[in-house]
Homo-oligomer: 149 residues x 2
């Protein structure tokens, strides 16, 4: 077992999961703030130079987990590790956000898909892409294809 | 505080951090296996369709953290959240791997940069890239530039 602590909190326009865009073609353009606790502010030095960040956070309002679930993008069930379901064995969320600016211990970002008050575990620079011609998107591409028919 | 559990373990050719390629231009082509615990195997259903996965894992052999550190890629110190240092407030690692094949509860992958025996917390599908013309790589691009001079 491993124990994690919050390094800060997400300020988001979303207060209920029903407000967060989901499913095929959902756009995440919402802006919000990553408020880092004062004792970790020094860890943000030089972060302004990166255009995009990984935010690792906790689905703190998800309950339990299910190994096989039906995502909003499809009518068929898939294994939890092949989805972004909140009901995971470890309730960890991962979002890539665009860093707009930093004001001391506040990072203003675009691309928020978390609820207001969500605890942050870690922030890392986003450094590289997978080449587009190497990327396959499994059942999600198939589900999108079925919708287009 | 949040409690996390291992969902499996990484089988890697690396048994010591000195063996892992680091610094500017480091290539991560090593192959390894993600061995998921039997009780979580059902969560892998349909994962084969994805070419790339996010692996979220624990730096289980890192000790303590430092908010300002000198990464192997640069001679100057940077905030921990602007680096991939193992010495983080929450010792969480994140790696994008290419999925080569699945054999029951074993995922054979390329792009391993973890030590043998590393605990896995979560696996998620890698779904999209940041547009190349939107990506800025901060101090890392500067450090690479200084080396080329």
């Amino acid at each position: 077992m491993f124990t994690m602590k919050s390094i800060g909190v997400i300020r988001s326009p979303y207060t209920d999961t029903s407000q967060i865009p989901k499913g095929c073609g959902a756009q995440h353009n919402a802006e919000g703030t990553l408020e880092i606790l004062p004792e970790f502010e020094q860890g943000l030095i030089d972060i302004e130079g990166f255009s995009h960040l990984y935010v690792i956070w906790i689905f703190d309002r998800a309950e339990g987990h299910e190994l096989l679930g039906r995502p909003p993008t499809d009518t068929r069930p898939h294994g939890v590790f092949a989805t972004r379901s909140p009901r995971r064995p470890n309730p960890i969320g991962l979002t890539v956000v665009e860093l707009l600016r930093r004001e001391e211990r506040r990072l203003y970002v675009r691309g928020i898909d978390m609820l207001d008050g969500t605890p942050i575990l870690d922030i890392k620079p986003y450094l590289s892409n997978v080449p587009a011609d190497k990327l396959r998107r499994g059942w999600l591409a198939e589900a999108e294809g079925r919708r287009e028919v």
